[in-house]
């Protein structure tokens, strides 16, 4: 029987906004505001307040058929730490010739479609990874580490350059952990499983980092 480790998947991880446009005029109960509005060219607006811990998101706001459409202004402005159900406020924008304006704040509640996808859900709380064929745990960054497998994943192996099969575990950057801590967290579970046949130890992430995905490639 194989030994496994369990990687807890965050059900509502704090994370970033998607890079694609978000329509907030039809978001139901969570949406209010805008007041008197004038269509025009896009106007930039940072997320000024939020009910959660999210920070850093900045949108360009336009009006399409009376509906506000928000687009992240740059890939570096997707923010971090936002959760489904948090409330975000965009401050009102004064009228200016040719530019989109609204004289009351836009307030909307974050839905899952607005944030980057995560693997976890109420019915998918863990990823199981067999450890019998694990070669090593390699650090990638403060938000990712690889469990490398003793299997090839290359067309033409050349010395020291062929990639092997691996599981990539990705966590959100808020709450933050470190590359070394993430590597050690995952290795600790594998070491525990290797020393105890038929056990299924769970990975305990430093700082309660939240796992977004586990991908085999």
């Amino acid at each position: 029987m194989s030994n496994f480790i369990k990687v807890p998947l965050a059900i509502n991880a704090a994370r970033s906004f998607v890079g694609s446009a978000i329509s907030v005029g039809t978001q139901g109960a969570g949406y209010t505001g805008g007041g008197s509005r004038v269509a025009g060219t896009a106007v930039a607006s940072g997320a000024t307040t939020t009910s959660g811990n999210g920070t850093g998101a900045e949108f360009s706001v336009t009006l399409t058929g009376g509906t506000f459409v928000l687009a992240i202004t740059a890939s570096s402005n997707i923010g971090e730490g936002y959760k489904v159900g948090d409330t975000v406020t965009l401050a009102s924008k004064a009228a200016a010739t040719g530019v989109t304006s609204f004289d009351a704040d836009i307030v909307f509640e974050i839905t899952s479609a607005m944030l980057i996808a995560i693997e976890g859900s109420a019915t998918n709380e863990y990823a199981l990874i067999p450890i019998n064929n694990v070669a090593c745990v390699s650090g990638v960054s403060a938000t990712a580490c690889d469990i490398q497998i003793l299997e090839n994943n290359f067309a033409t192996p050349t010395s020291g350059s062929g990639e092997v099969t691996k599981y990539t575990i990705t966590v959100d950057n808020a709450p933050a952990t470190t590359k070394a801590a993430l590597q050690a967290d995952v290795a600790a579970a594998i070491i525990k499983a290797a020393g105890a046949e038929n056990s299924q130890p769970e990975v305990k992430f430093t700082s309660n980092a939240e796992c977004i995905s586990v991908v085999l490639s």
């Binding site: 694990v134 490398q148 299997e151 801590a181 050690a184 290795a187 046949e197």
Partner: protein, 129 residues
């Protein structure tokens, strides 16, 4: 399986946490780098019982932190012995530590801790255990 201390992973440099490395299917261990800061662990593994040729893989344990070589010939021999021991006791996960770590100070101990470990494909290594 063996475990290796990782640099900057614990509450202090003297209390490192660990990464792990498979000790099965190893046929050679060698040192590399100039100065010698990398240990190569060479694997030959049959992907399936019906295969006639094994996969050749190489784990690179990187100690490149300080400016001087930290890996000695005796370290290689010690790691070979530890791998043999780990295979004789499958549920054990012994720790591998470089010889120099025993005499290291608080300020130099990190030179003897692993920066990273990576495994890649390779062509067969010429030496055997």
């Amino acid at each position: 399986m063996i475990k290796l201390p990782i640099i900057s992973s614990g509450p202090t440099a003297l209390q490192p946490r660990f990464t792990c490395l498979n000790a099965e299917d190893v046929y050679a261990v060698s040192k590399a780098g100039s100065p010698a800061d990398v240990i190569h662990v060479h694997y030959a593994k049959l992907a399936a019982a019906s295969d006639t040729a094994p996969l050749y893989l190489r784990a690179s344990i990187d100690y490149t932190n300080g400016t001087s070589a930290v890996i000695t010939d005796q370290d290689i021999e010690n790691l070979k012995d530890l791998i043999k021991s780990a295979n004789q006791n499958p549920s054990s996960v012994p720790e591998f530590e470089l010889i120099g770590a025993r005499d290291a100070t608080v300020s130099t101990i990190t030179d003897y801790q692993v920066v990273d470990v990576q495994i890649k494909a390779e062509e067969p290594y010429s030496s055997t255990v």
